[in-house]
């Protein structure tokens, strides 16, 4: 039996000033899955993620996120989604603790103090909890951002290129945590450029020029395109797109 769909959208479209950013996006992500969103820069990954978490209103299409309507119930969706932006999006002039406390208050997290303490401890930032975030390295900022979006225990994580510009060791630790979260039932939709990260996803979607070009598990995609590496799938997909255009 198919697992419960956490994201189920059809024909999502979004334009900016007459330019189509996303066109006819169909997507179904099941509970506990790690869905990898792959595609070149400007392909529409960020726009798609922003539509899913209610930050952008789709021009067309419909669907649900966590069983709630994307168009009419976006506030309820925000409450249950953990969203992480490409660029560190919390306050660099606040300390680690101040940032976490602020986010916890935004989500009205119960037992705030305990949760913040636990998060700081798990992050391994107890010694640096009063340090301003602006002074942390990129890797630490990303870990902090992930920790911040986990405090309200979201059922769905939307991560927009979370490891861009982060060193390999920090990336590996980051992904170990994502896999642990997925195992505990959290659904993850993550956009990435790294093929080693794509390999760790349960299912993948290739997007370019705002269109979803191929979807499936890694093995399915390798078989369909008759190649040995996910990178080659990407190249084949792009080739096909050129032929189409």
């Amino acid at each position: 039996m198919a697992a419960e769909a956490v994201i189920e959208v059809e024909g999502l479209a979004k334009s900016f000033g007459g330019r189509r950013a996303v066109e006819g996006l169909d997507l179904r992500v099941r509970r506990g899955e790690i869905f990898g969103f792959l595609g070149p820069n400007g392909s529409g990954k960020t726009t798609s993620i922003r539509m899913l978490c209610g930050l952008l209103t789709p021009d067309q299409g419909r669907g649900t996120c966590l069983g709630r309507d994307l168009l009419t119930d976006s506030r309820a969706i925000r409450r249950e989604v953990g969203y992480m932006t490409q660029r560190f999006g919390w306050y660099e002039d606040l300390s680690v603790r101040e940032n976490l406390e602020f986010v916890a208050r935004m989500y009205e997290v119960r037992e705030r103090q305990r949760i913040v303490d636990r998060t700081i401890e798990e992050l391994g930032l107890t010694q640096r909890q009063h340090q301003l975030v602006g002074g942390l390295s990129g890797g630490w900022k990303q870990r902090l951002a992930l920790a911040a979006c986990l405090m309200h225990e979201p059922r769905l994580l939307l991560l927009d290129e979370p490891t861009a510009g982060v060193d390999p060791r920090a990336r590996r630790e980051f992904w170990d945590q994502i896999i642990r979260l997925a195992a505990s039932g959290v659904t993850v939709l993550v956009s990435t450029h790294y093929m080693d990260e794509a390999e760790r996803c349960t299912r993948l979607g290739y997007i370019a020029y705002g269109k979803m070009l191929a979807q499936g598990t890694g093995t399915e995609l390798l078989e369909r395109f008759g190649v040995n590496r996910l990178e080659d799938v990407f190249i084949e997909v792009m080739k096909g797109l050129k032929d189409l255009r």
Binding site: R50, C53, G54, L55, L56, T57, S74, R75, A76, R78, R79, V81, Y83, T85, R87, F88, G89, W90, Y91, E92, D93, L94, E98, E101, F102, V103, R105, M106, Y107, E108, L132
Partner: protein
Amino acid sequence: MSLWSWARFLAIVRKELIQLKRDRLTFAMMIGVPLLQLTLFGYAINNDPKHLPTAVVDADRTEISRSLVAAVQNSGYFHVVWTGERLADADRLIARGQVQFLVHVPAGFTRALVRGEHPALLVEADASDPAASSNAVAAVMQLPKTALRDDLTGPLAASAPATEAFELRVHRRYNPEGTSAYNIVPGLMGVILTMTMIMMTALAVTRETERGTMENLLATPVRPLEVMLGKILPYVAIGNVQVGVILLAAAFLFEVPMVGSLPLLLLLTQAFILANLAVGITISTTARNQMQAMQMTLFFFLPSILLSGFMFPFRGMPVWAQTIGEVLPLTHFLRVVRGILLKGNGALDVWPHLWPLLVFIAAVLALGLTRFRRTLD
């Protein structure tokens, strides 16, 4: 789902306060700017300039002409810096701006006076800056009546001006000595609050957009009203600190009379601060970056100081300009603050200026709330 969360609102207030405390330069500016502007403008601006540089061409060279020149100088408005005989030289001085007035006593002035021919004394004023010369011109107009009172005696008594049919008494109420600071300092309170309050709030929100933190903030369940009011509240506090600084300076540095009720003034100041913060927030909903926010602030600030009666007499403007002026919060606040401090206005006297402020706040805040982007669209 609750429409309002105190926890989220207070979290935003707290965050703003922490950020303000850390941004020492801005914080120092918010206290330093009022002090600097007060000292600078309070002491520098003078609506009644005296001892203006004057050139004298005395072609008559008699005791009477010397008396006239002395009388001109004694009015306090004129300071003779050049005396000569050639009108062309004096003309050049006024054209170059080296003197503001030219007093010309023509040859034969005394002889004509003695003959009762009613001679003319010519005073030329550089009216390219009318405000600078208007009071001096008014003072010099009194000269024919008084200047030669001691000289026109004996056989010349017939040339002395006749006594007037009635006496004119002018009472300059609320500021009998015409001290500019009494007008400028209370006015500066409004100007400083307008500038800092609008700019600081406009920047506070656009900074979030520019730094990318707005995206994360919007992705949380926070409501626009919580963000808006949470960002406004710390600046209300700062506005009040500024008011305190200005009032203290007004009282002890400039000795501005404080005739009316201070609590009433403080109460009405809250409405004025809110009006400006509402403008700032509304600007921030349109501006895409901090530079645009600054430009829009200036766009509002300039008409505020030029059309509110702070810089130029309100009643001197055409009706359409007065209508624009009546919409601006500063116009009403200037009347309130001058009314309470200098005239001792009570609550009933200031009500006609309070309700337009309240309408302004409601309208602008509603506009800001509607425009506040709940999404990134």
